[in-house]
């Protein structure tokens, strides 16, 4: 989870590094810590450090971590020659290392040689059958080859063993959403909310999936989760505010002509409160679009 303070620091370091100021090593460390995907910049600036033998030796033992980071960034940018060179250097230093073995298999994946990569991963799995990273790479390979059903199968088997892996649950939810299997995606998001209940992004994603499935109970549940997102973010999530307004109007439409109890679920105060909050935020941040917003909200209230 990247916080706002970390994001501003990252952007600041990025500007500094791009405009020729120093701080390249801190930028690379921050990218590694936050696990963001900035492959081009990492490749460019990482190579600028590695090409210079003086800067390289001043890093000490962190030099090898940098080689690994640059190798992965090079594979992401399809500079396979650079990746090959980095891996060769690492192989010379650590000859029988599993970590370097994983990088070699990753390089085979990047080249598109799926069977060789598959074989390499199986060999690595024989030594250590419970290696999480290798199992996840198998899923990624299935995804890259365009076989989402096989990816789902592998990921389900992986999650039976390693149930606490949030990234895997998130990945599974995203694959399900891309295949439009929303009920299963909702289940994955429920697991994520159970494990990390204070992260508003999961509540928001769950509410959106429920809203997409539709139907009276799902819309009511979606509205509850949009409300909990607003609670967790202190009212700053514009998307959740919009979600409440849309849920309210969808529920009102569904319960037209039904009996009194269903009409009670409409919760008009919540909708009007959300609308007021939205208008206040738009007045502050985008006053030019305020008229558009007001007319849209008015048409929702029908």
């Amino acid at each position: 989870m990247v916080t706002k303070a970390e994001e501003t620091e990252l952007n600041q370091l990025e500007n500094q590094v791009e405009n020729g100021g120093g701080g390249v090593w801190e930028y690379l460390c921050l990218v590694r810590k936050l696990k963001v995907r900035r492959s081009e910049l990492v490749l460019k600036h990482g190579l600028s450090i590695l090409n210079d033998p003086g800067k390289r030796s001043s890093l000490g033992p962190d030099e090898w971590t940098l080689y690994e980071q640059v190798a992965i960034a090079a594979m992401d940018c399809q500079s396979l020659g650079a990746a090959q060179n980095c891996i060769k250097v690492l192989q010379k230093k650590f000859p029988e290392s599993k970590r370097v073995g994983k990088l070699e298999a990753l390089l085979l994946e990047a080249k598109g040689m799926w069977e060789e990569a598959e074989k390499a991963y199986s060999i690595l799995l024989e030594d250590n059958p419970l290696d999480q990273v290798i199992h996840k790479r198998k899923v990624a390979m299935a995804k890259a080859q365009g076989k989402p059903s096989s990816a789902i199968e592998h990921l389900n088997k992986y999650l039976e063993v390693f149930m606490a892996d949030h990234d895997a649950w998130r990945e599974l939810a995203e694959i399900y959403v891309s295949l439009q299997m929303y009920k299963q995606a909702a289940f994955c998001y429920e697991e994520l909310i159970l494990s990390q209940p204070t992260l508003p992004l999961y509540h928001l994603a769950y509410a959106e999936v429920l809203y997409t499935i539709g139907g009276q109970e799902n819309l009511i549940a979606a509205r509850k989760y949009y409300a909990s997102t607003i609670d967790l973010t202190g009212g700053k999530s514009t998307r959740a505010l919009f979600g409440i307004c849309l849920c309210g109007s969808a529920i009102a439409q569904l319960s037209k002509g039904r009996n009194k109890e269903d009409k009670d679920m409409a919760a008009p105060e919540l909708q009007s409160l959300a609308a007021t909050a939205l208008e206040k935020e738009y007045k502050q941040k985008a006053p030019a679009k305020l008229n558009l917003l007001s007319s849209a909200l008015r048409s929702l209230k029908l």
Binding site: M1, V2, T3, K4, A5, E7, L34, K35, V36, R37, E40, L43, K44, L47, L50, N51, I72, A74, M75, D76, C77, Q78, S79, G81, A82, N85, V89, E109, A110, G112, Q132, V133, K136, R137, V139, A140, M141, K143, A144, D167, A168, R170, E171, T198, L199, P200, L201, L232, T233, G234, K236
Partner: protein, 104 residues
């Protein structure tokens, strides 16, 4: 050494002096065989002064306090980390490899 640190040191010294006075007072009471009902008034005053100084120093010396609200402006979650364990290299960016120079 800034003011907070100095005041903190003075506060701790006053507290330890109050403790030492109380121990001496108890020794005196053992000689006259009376019961220890509480430290004398001047020691209590010293304790209050020491408490005030130490608390002020403890709040000002460490510097800026970090926010603990999860929805404050620094702490709010902006994005989740990009799942690099499941990263695939099969994207459209592979048609545009950057120009790089390698010297090793």
């Amino acid at each position: 050494m800034n003011l907070g640190f100095v005041i903190g040191v003075i506060g701790v010294l006053i507290l330890s002096h109050a403790g030492y006075s109380t121990i001496q007072y108890r020794g005196l009471l053992k000689i006259t065989e009376e019961e220890f009902t509480g430290p004398p008034l001047n020691v209590v005053l010293e304790l209050i002064v020491g408490l005030a100084l130490s608390m002020w120093a403890a709040l000002t010396f460490p510097g800026k306090f970090l926010s603990i609200h999860p929805d404050s402006d620094e702490n709010r979650a902006v994005s989740l980390p990009d799942n690099s364990d499941f990263m695939i290299f099969n994207h459209r960016g592979r048609l545009f490899p950057p120009e790089i120079t390698m010297k090793f």
